[in-house]
């Protein structure tokens, strides 16, 4: 039975892997290749890794690109800026998202569905438009400044746009649902009797939260945080539209290297090192977490 199943469905099983190879590993390998190539003027703007000349096979490979980006504090600082943005906004998303997720999960079924739809509605409009809307809101002649001037709180517009606070605002606004939905998924399954039981056994509300609710919603917290943290590290559009020159972010640097400086090898080296620095801690974390989960199952 099982043997037959395997034979007949081998393609069915391998399709996702094929997808992964074609659209993930191949492009990744291309980027890796470019990142160790030597840059030159032309199209494409790098020298082939292998070329035949009078001296035979020539290998034009270099680790110079990596050495260059790690020796220039400019790149390192932009990377740290991105990490700090991701960290701050993940934390903010968690702090704002947790109570919302808890409230939605614990409301009556009829109200719950409406609340969920309200969470999802923003996805119906374009991401770019939503970020642009913030630009309109925050600008000098925007609604917020107009209202503040109108009620006499300020006399002239304050500059709220083009700084890293505006970036954090935009990121938190955009990524909040990615925190709330996985949290909601775990909290909706939460047995409310456990809260009563904890109270009954003498635990005050804060202790109940720390000792019972929090540990049991940890998987949701981890899932939501990953969904926010990882994409925000490479976020390009929001810093581009709302950010200013006070802080440069990793995603924008890669963009600039690719499209402004046309230095593909440096841009690729940046992308690769970003992946490596980000992926390894996440893999370790995932393994630790899998172990923790296994112990709990």
């Amino acid at each position: 039975m099982i043997k037959n199943f395997k034979k007949q469905n081998v393609w069915f099983v391998f399709t996702p892997y094929l997808w992964l190879v074609l659209f993930f590993f191949v492009p990744l390998a291309l980027i890796l290749k470019i990142s160790i190539s030597v840059s030159e003027w032309g199209m494409p703007p790098y020298r082939d890794l292998f070329s035949l000349s009078e001296n035979g096979l020539e290998i034009n490979s270099t680790l110079g690109n990596y050495l260059f980006i790690f020796s220039d504090p400019f790149y390192i600082r932009s990377y740290l800026n991105s990490l700090s943005l991701a960290f701050t906004s993940t934390l903010l998303c968690l702090l704002i998202g947790y109570p919302i997720a808890f409230y939605v999960a614990k409301s009556k079924t009829s109200i719950r569905n409406i609340l969920l739809i309200m969470l999802i509605i923003p996805f119906w409009s374009s991401f770019l438009l939503r970020v642009y809307a913030w630009k309109v809101l925050l600008q000098g002649s925007g609604i917020i400044n107009s209202i503040l001037i109108h009620i006499g709180l300020i006399s002239e517009p304050i500059s709220m746009l083009h700084n890293h606070y505006a970036v954090i605002l935009g990121v938190v606004y955009t990524y909040l649902p990615f925190m709330i939905l996985p949290l909601y998924g775990y909290l909706v399954k939460f047995d409310l009797n456990l809260i009563d039981a904890s109270n009954d056994l003498g635990a005050k509300p804060l202790n109940t939260f720390v000792k019972v609710i929090l540990p049991l919603s940890l998987p949701g917290i981890v899932a939501g945080s990953m969904l926010v943290f990882i994409p925000v590290v490479g976020e390009y559009i929001i810093p581009e539209m709302l950010g200013g020159s006070d802080k440069l972010y990793f995603g924008k640097i890669i963009w600039d290297e690719f499209f402004v400086n046309r230095d593909w090898p440096i841009a690729s080296a940046l992308a690769m090192s970003g992946i490596v620095i980000l992926v390894f801690p996440i893999i370790i974390f995932q393994l630790m977490y899998a172990k923790y989960n296994f112990k709990n199952e």
Partner: protein, 352 residues
Amino acid sequence: MSEPFLQIIDVSKRFDNVVALDKVNLKIEKSEIFSLLGSSGCGKSTLLRIIAGFEKPDEGRILLEGKDITKLPPYVRPLNIMFQNYALFPHLNVTNNIQFGLKEEKISKEEINHRVNEILNLLELNGLEKRKINEISGGQQQRVALARCLVKKPKLLLLDEPLAALDKQLRVQTQFELVNLQYKLGITFIIVTHDQEEAMSLSDRMAIMKNGEILQVGNPVEIYEKPKDKYIANFIGTANIFNVLNKNNQIIIKELNYEVKNINNKENYVKCLIRPEKISVKKLENQSDNLNIGVVKEVAYLGSYTKYLIEVNGFEFYSFMQNSLVSDNLQIRWDDKVQISFNETSIYFFND
């Protein structure tokens, strides 16, 4: 006259205009096992949750040893509750579940360990200390839930359908264990159940609830033999209820056309109850005149006893006969004519 251990005074509770409890009054004595019995939606669980402190009553007060606890939050009440689904913490092992409540009190580590070990021994949970909750059986989970409450040495233990989640065999065994445990510890138990057999076998006293009201309070014998009304009579066990006629100082059971002679109290009762096991039937051999004759409509042989559905003048009622002799079995069959007899002292008269 000492004051009762737990007093529930005029407690009312509504949920969105649905009355869950309507001016409930109850006095529960120290060290008794008291059951709240009723079908679902009768308000018994709401009452339990109010005693535990999870719900606040709209009106009324709860006094524990004379002290008003109505407004106290659950975490300061000197009582514990065992939930129907046990509500054990899935992220903690058996020991950590049991000591959860102790860690909230200001008790030394040695004292905690001592008390946890004591309760592990009492409930025969040794060897399971490090197990996760989903690694132990339903019966073991029930004992962990009990241990988690008892280790706190509560004055009062509330049990919400304590046996409902167990399979039938385990249930009977656990019933006796619960009673023994209560006897050993002397803690007052309040049990909520919809299972009348469970309530009968566990309780010292019980309250029958319906639509947010308490209909009757009494020990199991009183409730079974002297139910206040038709609802209670039918709720507990099987009830044969007949109409009573009072004609010229004669008390007559209408459906059987039977005159009750040995009755002192000739009040105007309108109904009477004769429990099925108090009615005996005998296969009719020769035409007898003074006793009622009925026809067997159904026979259900249940091993220790047999249930007969008897029809007299178009009225149907039950008779349960003990199968005390092997030859008794299946002597009476469908459509047989039978003699019906009962002791007049077994008739319980009441007004509906």
